[in-house]
Symmetry: C2
């Protein structure tokens, strides 16, 4: 009888679910609303109910469920321990054990959302077949995932892949959201890019059409668009951005020697102008490596979580 895996991607407002025939791509996807913070301990029952209802609707038997994978926006250690999850208002627990309990002991695996995205790209997306890989998600913040030997590296403290908080400029004076100063996220997130642009604009040494924009329109996209047209200040922002991202990427390259470095998140949509510059600095910063890791743009988009979770679950079989 056909066996299925379910991938569960838990976000702050929505839980995405998808059913995968073992070894294949998703054939059914659906969403439920994330359990509210006051009743967050009921989230496991809510997910189990959603899976049971969908299986009933499709005429599948629950014995056909081989394993469940899930990701959530918090650090999960190698032993499955989640110390906290601020975004969900969740305290310390073992998420996989909790969900398995309410699913009659079906095997469940859990990981951090950026780690799931990295594994998803390796199993189904832009990094298919890579042994070692690194993902940067460049959005409002900067996240990441590290894959070694086809497996997520989370570590015993769950900070594997916390690439957004690499200190790349110890001389920085402004604080990062994490409370530290000089983190990669302060330069290479969408907000970081705007921050760098504003700083350069305040100095007033470079010509730019960005001065003419109302502040609300000064976005990462606007900066990249102007840079593509040759805007002096826009190009300088791209340069700062690329230098710091390349430093982080090169340090990862000389640590785990990834086959590919995957770039995801909203900022990755700036595309070629950004990636080309990052790769240029990366090649310089990995002088010692005769052959270089390739840069690729993430392919799975909003499905990265469910696909990555399913990939993680498949490692239980």
């Amino acid at each position: 009888m056909q066996k299925y895996i379910v991938g569960v991607d838990i976000g702050g407002t929505t839980i995405k679910l998808a059913i995968f025939p073992v070894g294949e791509r998703a054939i059914h996807t659906w969403e439920i609303t994330t359990t509210d913070r006051e009743h967050i301990t009921e989230i496991w029952k809510d997910i189990a109910d959603a899976i049971r209802a969908k299986f009933a609707e499709l005429g599948y038997d629950m014995t056909q469920l081989a394993a469940v994978g899930m990701d959530l926006p918090g650090p999960i250690c190698d032993n499955g321990y989640l110390p906290w999850c601020v975004n969900l208002g969740m305290g310390a627990c073992y998420p996989a054990e909790e969900l398995s309990k309410v699913l009659d002991g079906i095997p469940v695996a859990a990981c951090n959302d950026a780690n799931a995205a990295a594994l998803g790209e390796v199993y189904y997306g832009a990094a298919k077949g890579a042994d070692n890989a690194a993902l940067f998600t460049l959005g409002t913040g900067v996240g990441g995932g590290i894959i070694v030997g086809g497996k997520i590296v989370a570590g015993n403290r769950g900070v594997g892949g916390e690439v957004g908080h690499f200190v790349v400029n110890p001389d920085e004076t402004e604080k990062c959201n994490c409370g530290n100063r000089g983190c990669l996220e302060q330069y290479t997130s969408a907000t970081g890019m705007v921050r760098v642009a504003k700083r350069l604009m305040a100095k007033g040494q470079l010509k730019s059409k960005l001065y003419d924009l109302p502040e609300i329109d000064l976005t990462a996209k606007a900066i990249c668009d102007e840079a593509k047209e040759g805007d002096e200040l826009g190009l300088e922002v791209i340069d700062v951005y690329s230098k710091y991202l390349a430093i982080a990427a090169s340090h990862i390259a000389l640590t785990i020697d990834p086959d590919v470095i995957i770039i995801g998140g909203g900022v990755s949509r700036a595309g070629k102008i950004l990636i080309d510059k990052v790769e240029e600095y990366f090649i310089e910063y990995t002088h010692i490596a005769e052959k270089k890791a390739k840069f690729v743009i993430a392919e799975l988009g909003n499905d990265a979580g469910t696909y990555g979770s399913a990939a993680l679950a498949s490692q239980l079989l």
Copy 2:
């Protein structure tokens, strides 16, 4: 019948060998001279002969040899490929296959020497029992090794653990031995430390007893010794050193989340004054990690290679 593993540590002038009862520490160690560069392709036969002769001398039968591990001073990819080994004058080959061929097909594994040292510390030394670990060898140059899930991470290009060539200062004007500029090795090797001291001395802004030393006596040890006595310039060198090493260590920590970071090599003998400062910056640079990796001093010294090679061989059983 008792089974044995042999660990072989190939250096530029000497090959160290050691016999380990499976799962135990070395019971016999000996050395042979490294095959000269003109006859380097005979090195495999030389090693096999040395093992056979020692087994005969000890009254062991060759059927008691379960596996051989070896390390050498060059990059070895995950598939066993060595693209080159400048220090031995060796061209591209698969070292483990070559040695196995002249040992009647006995299983052989090979890795880079710094990687072996890291694995040795995890199996037998300062990092015993760690799942993930990172080693910095701070000597004439700076090498390193990365362990994830108890295994060496070399990668498909063999540059896993090339931590000495992390670019930590993109604004550096002087060149590293690798041809790049701003590598960790330029600040945290023994020669790098002297270079930093000379630069600060040329500026002449800090008081120091180091000005009174003849140039030949201006060594990493002398700098550390003066720093311990409160020498202004000596302390500044330690500060620069610690900042850069902590940046590299923190980036590794937020990549693979090591349980311990092992410090080895001659410079590590400076001991507490250096490690304390490195750890101080490391804690600052890993602000996001609630629990921190521990710093430990390498324990195996000159035996790291044979012990690490034996550990690698044991993974074949």
